[in-house]
């Protein structure tokens, strides 16, 4: 390693107390930022659970739909019209709504109900028990075994209950990629049973799920659907729309932004202060180096190296700590809504770089002001 860098490294790391304090500051800040943004990403991810679980590449909906949960019914002709658009391989209806389940102890539990197209069962979940065909059996429902499963008293195949005053019987247990955000257990049934059992306004198609012949057909499909007065979104667009709804319409985004900023400021003040104190305590050393004949640029290099080394180590520790915690939390709570994503990693990284830059800026300024004569005079 280049001599002065290792020198800078030793001056930093051999000062164990200061270095530890610095690392704790940065690690803590990174951890907070990572954790908050990861929680948020997790929440956003769960907000689009149905979109991911059903998995259709294109979703047709009323243009005023803001999020998957607030679907607006569309008349049946929309389904036929979409089916006749060139480039559409097939299109099926999806029902998405909420029903009240009366439990055996007499209490009620809300559940979200997805009604799959009767002929194709498009968007069906993966079953861990039972057969998918049994969904056609009288009163057949499939229950999703996710974190909310217990709210329905952990039903098994054959369990019966009342759903909106209709008899319902569990014919299968499914698992899904992402569980929902809203604390409701999920039931699957057929489209027709869903609209039979659940009271609805005039129009009952929540979404039309479209499979295009090829992805190059999607722009044309979107135009044709728009001409019908409806809106077609790709899966990713719909996920982003759901996320945007949470970020911009619910206030969650602002809160997350504020909390991220607070952890940034806390991290900056702890680490910045500690680093500056470190520089101040070593002023005499930097002064001696200057007197001996260190160029200013070399001093700047040393300080930048110290700041970035601390920042990067702290970043690594912070990310590690956050990952560990999320992992442990997920062991205990499968649906734990936190997700470490590249945006979180990037945001915290940028914040850490800014912290290092600001801290070293003040350190550098102070060190460049040292008069070697003052050191020489003692």
């Amino acid at each position: 390693m280049k001599g002065i860098l290792k020198l800078a490294y030793k001056l930093l790391v051999n000062d164990k107390a200061k270095f530890t304090a610095l690392l704790i500051g940065i690690t803590f800040a990174v951890f907070l930022m990572m954790f908050i943004t990861s929680m948020f990403m997790g929440v956003l991810n769960h907000a689009s659970a149905t979109v991911v679980n059903v998995g259709a590449p294109v979703w047709v909906m009323d243009p005023s739909v803001q999020a998957i949960t607030s679907s607006i019914g569309m008349p049946n002709y929309v389904l036929d019209a979409v089916r006749s658009i060139p480039g559409v391989k097939f299109a099926v209806p999806l029902y998405s709504g909420t029903a009240l389940v009366k439990l055996h102890d007499g209490t009620y539990q809300a559940a979200s109900v997805l009604g799959l197209d009767d002929t194709s069962l498009y968007g069906r979940p993966v079953l861990t028990a039972g057969k998918i065909e049994n969904i056609y059996a009288d009163n057949g429902f499939i229950v999703v075994d996710d974190a909310e499963y217990r709210k329905l008293e952990s039903p098994r195949i054959g369990t019966t209950f009342e759903l909106n005053d209709h008899r319902a019987v569990i014919v299968g247990v499914a698992k899904v990629t992402i569980s929902g955000l809203f604390g409701l257990p999920t039931l699957y049934t057929t489209y027709y049973r869903a609209i039979q059992y659940i009271p609805n306004p005039r129009f009952t198609i929540s979404y039309v799920l479209v499979h295009p012949k090829s992805s190059s057909d999607i722009p044309a499909i979107k135009r044709q659907v728009a001409a019908l007065g409806y809106m077609a979104l790709t899966k990713d667009e719909f996920i982003r729309k759901n996320a945007a709804f949470f970020v911009f319409q619910t206030g969650a985004g602002t809160n997350i932004l504020i909390m991220t900023l607070i952890s940034f400021i806390v991290g900056l003040s702890i680490s910045g202060q500690t680093f500056y104190t470190f520089i101040l305590e070593n002023l005499e050393r930097f002064g001696a180096l200057k007197a001996i004949g260190t160029r200013n640029r070399q001093l700047v290099t040393m300080i930048l190296f110290q700041a970035s080394f601390t920042a990067l180590t702290g970043y690594g520790l912070g990310v590690g700590l956050c990952t560990l915690l999320v992992y442990l939390a997920k062991l205990r709570l499968a649906s734990y809504a936190a997700m470490i994503t590249y945006p979180s990693l990037l945001v915290s990284f940028v914040m850490v770089v800014i912290i290092a830059a600001i801290s070293s800026y003040f350190g550098v300024r102070r060190v460049l002001q040292i008069e070697p004569f003052d050191i020489f005079r003692g």
């Binding site: 001599g3 000062d15 005499e284 160029r295 640029r297 008069e371 005079r377």
Partner: protein, 236 residues
């Protein structure tokens, strides 16, 4: 080596303005040759440290000129001046300024690191210098584990490791007991002083005068007398 090691003319240095103005160095002329070990003595506050700093490229004078090996040092830019100090001058600071978080060998190697030398190579060279000052077996200890005299020798090793032509020592014996101080200066006189080196020592300590080739007396910013050691010693 031809020519003077250091040649200064009309040096002036003052601090502050108006009422508070202190004339630390007044119109000093000085010439130091290679092979010389020159002492600057004088009462506290007479400007010795200031003069030393001006001569060694640490403190810019308000008047006059300093030539070191023919180079007008106060005409150099900041980087050139830093390089000049690094390559031409070895400094032994009054309170050593050893780095407590580095071990002895690392302390000595600092000027080599600054010269962009590789770490291991620098440590090797530093260890050889520690051997010269008799502290090889202390190479891995931090400075706090060393006695005052040993620390002083580490400081000397650090000043000399880059093989500078000029060694500057400000009060080298101030924090040492008499015998140790004497031994250190004896060591410098016997081992560091060479025909191609120039050593300038600022001191109050008359017990080490015997190693001086010349003693310059400073008073109130002026160099007043130039004497040889014998006459000063007689004065007592």
């Amino acid at each position: 080596m031809p020519g003077a090691a250091i040649k200064a003319n009309g040096l002036g240095k003052w601090f502050g303005e108006g009422e508070a103005k202190t004339m630390a160095v007044r119109n000093v002329d000085l010439e130091a040759g290679f092979g010389e070990m020159i002492y600057i003595v004088g009462p506290s506050g007479s400007g010795k440290t200031t003069l030393l700093s001006v001569l060694s490229g640490i403190l810019r004078p308000n008047a006059g000129k300093v030539e070191v090996e023919g180079i007008d040092i106060w005409n150099l830019n900041a980087d050139q001046l830093a390089d000049f100090r690094l390559n031409k001058i070895g400094f032994v600071f009054q309170d050593y300024h050893l780095f407590p978080r580095l071990n002895t060998a690392e302390n000595v190697a600092i000027p080599l690191f600054l010269r962009k030398k590789d770490w291991d190579e620098s440590i090797g060279e530093a260890t050889r210098y520690l051997e010269v000052v008799g502290l090889k077996e202390r190479a891995n200890l931090p400075p706090v584990k060393l006695s005052g005299g040993e620390q002083q020798r580490v400081a000397i090793a650090r000043a000399m490791v880059g093989q500078p032509d000029i060694l500057i020592m400000d009060e080298p014996t101030a924090s040492l007991d008499g015998d140790t101080g004497h031994a250190i200066l004896k060591f410098v006189h016997e081992n560091i002083l060479r025909a191609d080196r120039c050593i300038i020592v600022v001191t109050h300590d008359s017990r080490i005068y015997e190693f001086a080739s010349r003693i310059l007396k400073m008073e109130d910013g002026r160099l007043t007398v130039t004497q040889n050691d014998a006459s000063l010693l007689q004065k007592g």
